[in-house]
Symmetry: C2
């Protein structure tokens, strides 16, 4: 035991709620545990922080190691510290949430042969530890933040139709939106670039494609405008 301290210290870990969007659902990425406690149960990807990295870096490293995901949107969520949350010992966990483009990344099972899979956010299996609580918090945060920050684009491919954009909002906010009003609103924000390009290989009229213009968005933010739904 080479590391000794005058006072007891909790173990410190990061866990990550990774969201992805498929055609019809918001998905969460889970890892199947192979060790006790909760062997066999699904859990959030995560692990111990190293001494030479920040929490953000640890979250990215763990994501990379356990799921192969890199360069994703990542934001700190909450730090949980209930006494009995890990039956082995005192563990404090800093929870993060991440948004990824499902198409981009083939989620690899981790190197150590643990199973990784996407589950619908509204139909999750029983989770290890207090990970169900963490997922609920992440969902709430995502829903809240989506309204006034353009983070939803992180879930879509770079080119998308307005219908797809609307679906994304409907799926996450869990309520239908009016098509005409939605288009009016989102176009009036003037942060989408019309790519003058249309969908390919669809069995109906092809939709125009747009791109989120982050440059323009930042510009407008600086000029004191504020995004909302």
């Amino acid at each position: 035991m080479p590391f000794a301290y005058d006072y007891a210290r909790p173990a410190l870990t990061v866990d990550c709620v990774v969201f992805g969007l498929d055609e019809a659902d918001l998905k969460v990425l889970l890892i199947q545990r192979d060790l006790e406690p909760f062997a066999g149960r699904w859990a959030l990807p995560g692990g111990f922080i190293h001494m030479d990295e920040t929490l953000d870096q640890a979250a990215r490293r763990e994501l990379q190691e356990e799921t192969g995901l890199a360069k994703v949107f990542l934001e700190q969520l909450y730090t949980v510290s209930d006494i009995g949350r890990d039956p082995r010992e005192r563990v404090v966990t800093v929870a993060y949430y991440a948004l990824v483009r499902l198409g981009d990344h083939h989620v690899q099972a981790a190197t150590d042969a643990r199973n990784a899979a996407w589950f619908s956010a509204d139909d999750l299996p029983r989770l290890a530890f207090d990970h169900d609580v963490i997922v609920s918090m992440a969902l709430q945060r995502l829903q809240g933040k989506l309204r006034y920050q353009p983070i939803g684009f992180e879930l879509l491919p770079p080119k998308f139709s307005l219908t797809r954009l609307q679906q994304m909002y409907e799926i996450i906010l869990e309520r239908p939106l009016d098509k005409r009003n939605f288009r009016k609103k989102v176009l009036s924000l003037d942060i989408l670039e019309d790519l003058e390009e249309v969908e390919q290989d669809v069995a109906h009229r092809a939709a125009r494609l747009y791109r989120f213009d982050e440059r323009k968005y930042r510009q407008k933010i600086n000029d004191g405008f504020n995004f909302e739904l």
Copy 2:
């Protein structure tokens, strides 16, 4: 060194940004350090977490010990983990912010004779560690949250005039509000109880006093209404 682990662990602390409101300013409570590093500098109250308490409990305990404050509004803010933020060793800190009624609590200097004092939020001295960053985050959070959650009442005495309520919003949001519009809006929310009572000992027309009706507020929230400035 009675506590030994297989892997190195960062120290884990809680720090607290305590806000109070006086006549004209938003104040932050600081403690003067008597030990290195940063001896003599002002810093946020805080300290190490114990193994038998949650982070919330630790924050409350530290507040009690260092400033005598108890039963305040307290909410987790962010966890900071930059490598060099404490020059002695690796320290990860979970930051909280608290809202207190200045009148209620006489802030005592801590038992160990450290100095405690209130400073205007917009005119703080140089702070120890990265506490200036934490204070900025807390301010941003307070400003953001104030708009859509009735947390501002935590800074006011139980009985207050509409003018005082308006001042609170103006001070924190750092912009003037229209008196008539403000009153119309806040009364229309129907979450204030008119106490049918007026200010005493003022050198002009006495203002009606109101109380925040938390019961009514929760009721309305349940019925799907949403508060907004």
